[in-house]
Symmetry: C2
């Protein structure tokens, strides 16, 4: 068992900041587990300076050293064993089954990045060879690839304490692309953060990496986050969380003397459209799948289906309402999320144009085990009021009833940016499905057919991101191989002698990369 | 000869706005050629609404239709014949030789985008096929590609009236990626802008494209630019111009309810480093090349070498000073640029730590034919004062003298973001060159060896962009094939029936694309 000391970690050193106190709380028992203190500008400056110093050294590592290091990070996370699962369960209430699966996914993603780094294609090497005798002007030799951007600040998420936590996808993709990382650990699970530091510390020491490659600042204050984003050495930011939090960081980054990109994955209502024949022939199945998707992780997935768009069908509504009422109540991650959910539900319940399909008897106050809620509204109300497109973070779904397929298309056209949109359809619905998809892919990052949005497959073709407010940078993804390119940029080298070029661009092609050579993809040497 | 009417153009209609008056002026004669009026919010709203309407229709075009359209645009620009060259020369003073070359480059780039569209690989299709029997969970079918973002606003540049003008690289790359474009024509050459509209109008009509695909708003006011960037339908912005102008647009875009990306290519001082043996063995050649590069286009290239970093060499300084004094004076594009250059030179001339190596007898006031200037300062002064890293737009270069190679490395490490950095070195300088390049690629988009930064080759391996303030988005390029991806974003399709997928992702691979299929690149069908 690793003994935890309620500390932060800066470049290999454990530190005890003296900022604002905050608590690790067990959401199931409301028991206070430990007391932590927030880092401040002193710790921010130390961590960023160490990251900048480590960057020069880390750039000297070859791709296999970085891949080995990432694999060691995954090994060391697994070596934390049950202590990691039990600690995270105590702080998040997510349960050992879910957390075991999430640990597997997290280590799998870290090892997938290691494999991508070892393979090397991700730098998108492109070579145009010289034509010295071209007229009127000779053509120079130009070679282009991606290089790392420099120190990256990552904000851990509360809802995925492993996959998007202190050493989750953002941290791993930034490290894989060749950058040092400074993490602001999520204050909802500081003990879990501290355990991840132990794994990173061991991996860094074992692989002889520079100590400034990783720091983790514990803290509950907005000031700490702002300091990290404002710091002159910070080159990019990764964030998973609320729209309010993400937008605040975007605004700070945009106002810097030198603006930097913030890759924020934020709110989403993930609309599910049900076409006519699909509803008629398997509305019951869809209702059952929807209930399972809405209640998964107590509705605290960024891909939770918060809206269902369909023509009215009382049977379907009742299946959904009954299914949600009968589903066991889950646990919310923390008090703040509980307060926000109660406030959202009170606001919706007070509306004339929204009906609560499965009202609960007891008060919804003061519990972290909220009711699973089904709501209903009209397409007209939904299209008219952007407030109905605001995410309610929790096990809640709103059925938007449309007069006909034309109105369903209108709803599709009125959607704000989302991570996903889903269409349920049969072969008979093909025309309606095509018309919907045409609108939907303009509003989302992923279109799903006859499925549900929860469950984000980690693979090269995944896209996890979408137009604002789903994310801050809709061209990028926070899941899958391309998550790395968020933390890299292109550089071209003109007429450099072969020995001065990075290996990925040298004539001999020592890494055996697939390169675009004079416009044609090839893994040959030149 | 096309008769020009001092108009703007919205979705196929010529309009005469009634906003602020501005003049087309011949910089060589100071003669007023024509009077124009600025568009305002009325025209902005009309153009953006038409663009949004055209987007749906344009998305129905297949890749060959878009490629044909782009080729027709290039044909129609060439069909404007000498009138385009003469009009642009009258408004810019750039000369017929340069403008003829720039027209060739512009049409070449448009046709290159057409070829990329016709080929189709640029959408980066990636397919991961389903594994229905995978445990514990089946793997869905995921397919990902780039799709257009929607209406793009382009700000034409003054210094490249063709290549980055109304129908230059930004407009062409946005159209090629599948987006409608609304251009704010640069007020320094409104007649040239109007001629380009004629070419676009003919191409749109000839190819039966939706009329809202292209609009051009003439105007001289900041309000017009702000309105266009703020407009709710605008999805992305392309800009080439000053740091002040670009940053203002970045700030407006970041403050929108829904922030959008601004791809701004802004200021750069393009430092040229000369290593010891290179200076000793061919300082005279380097001086001659530098003089040619500094005076090219009267120093009004974004890649003009504004700074030279070297150990002191009086001979070199004298070659540069004499060469610049003897080089014919060029013409500045407009009065605003003239004022800014005079103001910058006065500020520099008043500094104790900057010496003017070729002072001019006559006053530099009130001329659009400025002297070609060589300045000298110390590395200590340069590193200490960021003001010396501000771009002086015009034929000026500042020689930064370093005590030794260590101090040259220190200057490299202190550089702000730049489009390019250049190293002159011999085989004997290999170690010094390697040490410099290590620092330089962190600050720039392109590293040049034994060449000069002016002259941006248009090819897939080109990178034209760099860390702020050189550009707003250092991962992207405004020249070369990848300029298109600025105006596109990824969408994943999960478990869609083949018929509902875009052709690029269908099993049969009807476009014959190179696709990443289960992680392996292949042009086969599935």
């Amino acid at each position: 068992m690793i003994k935890l000391h309620q500390k932060s970690y800066i470049a290999g050193e454990w530190v005890t900041p003296d900022g604002t106190e905050f608590l690790s709380i067990n959401p199931a028992t409301r028991e206070v587990l430990e007391t932590y203190h927030s880092c401040g500008s002193l710790e921010t400056n130390a961590a960023m300076a160490a990251a900048q110093a480590a960057f020069a050294e880390y750039r000297q590592c070859d791709k296999d050293q970085i891949a080995d290091f990432l694999n060691t990070v995954a090994d060391e996370i697994e070596a934390l064993g049950d202590q990691l699962l039990e600690t995270a369960d105590a702080e998040t209430g997510l349960g050992l089954v879910r957390l075991t699966g999430e640990r597997g996914r997290t280590c799998g993603q870290i090892r997938a990045f290691a494999a991508i780094v070892a393979e090397g294609h991700w730098v998108q090497a492109s070579i145009d060879t010289a034509q010295p005798d071209r007229t009127p002007l000779p053509k120079p030799d130009l070679r282009r690839m991606m290089i790392p951007v420099g120190p990256v600040v990552v904000f851990g998420a509360s809802n995925f304490p492993f996959a998007f936590g202190s050493v989750g996808g953002d941290t791993a993709s930034a490290l894989a692309a060749g950058n040092p990382v400074v993490v602001k650990g999520h204050p909802s699970h500081p003990l879990t953060n501290e355990l991840f530091v132990h794994a990173m510390d061991r991996a860094i020491n074992h692989r002889g990496m520079p100590s400034g490659l990783f720091s983790l600042l514990q803290g509950s204050t907005n000031e700490l986050g702002g300091d990290l984003v404002r710091h002159d050495q910070t080159r990019a930011v990764g964030f998973t969380g609320s729209l309010g939090g993400g937008r605040a960081l975007m605004d700070i980054a945009a106002a810097r003397p030198r603006p930097i990109p913030v890759y924020a994955e934020m709110g989403s209502i993930n609309p599910v459209f049900i076409a006519e024949d699909a509803m008629a022939t398997r509305g019951d199945e869809i209702a059952a799948g929807l209930v399972a998707s809405v209640t998964m992780g107590t509705g605290q997935f960024c891909t939770s289906p918060g809206v269902v768009v369909t023509t009215p069908n009382e049977g379907f509504n009742q299946w959904v309402a009954r299914g949600l009422s009968e589903a066991p109540r889950g646990l919310l991650l923390n008090e703040k999320i509980g307060e926000e959910l109660r406030s959202s539900l009170r606001a919706v319940a007070g509306r004339d144009d929204v009906e609560w399909l499965n009202p609960v008897e007891e008060s919804v106050e003061d519990t972290l085990a909220p009711p699973n809620c089904a709501l209903r509204t009209s397409a007209a109300a939904f299209v008219a009021d952007p407030a109905l497109q605001q995410e309610i973070f929790g096990p809640v779904t709103l059925i938007v009833e449309c007069d006909d397929t034309v109105e369903m298309k209108r709803v599709a056209g009125a959607l704000d940016g989302n991570l996903t949109a889903t269409v349920h359809a049969t072969a008979q619905d093909a025309d309606q499905a095509a018309a919907l998809i045409e609108h939907l892919d303009e509003a989302v990052g992923r279109v799903i057919y006859n499925g549900f949005p929860t469950g984000v497959e980690v693979c090269p073709s995944q896209q996890h991101g979408g137009p604002y407010p789903a994310s801050s940078a809709s061209a990028t993804t926070s899941v899958g191989a391309d998550a790395m390119v968020r933390f890299a940029r292109f550089v071209a080298y003109q007429d450099l002698p072969d020995a001065l070029l990075p290996p990925a661009l040298q004539n001999a092609n020592p890494y055996g990369l697939l390169r675009r050579v004079n416009g044609i993809y090839s893994d040959a040497s030149i």
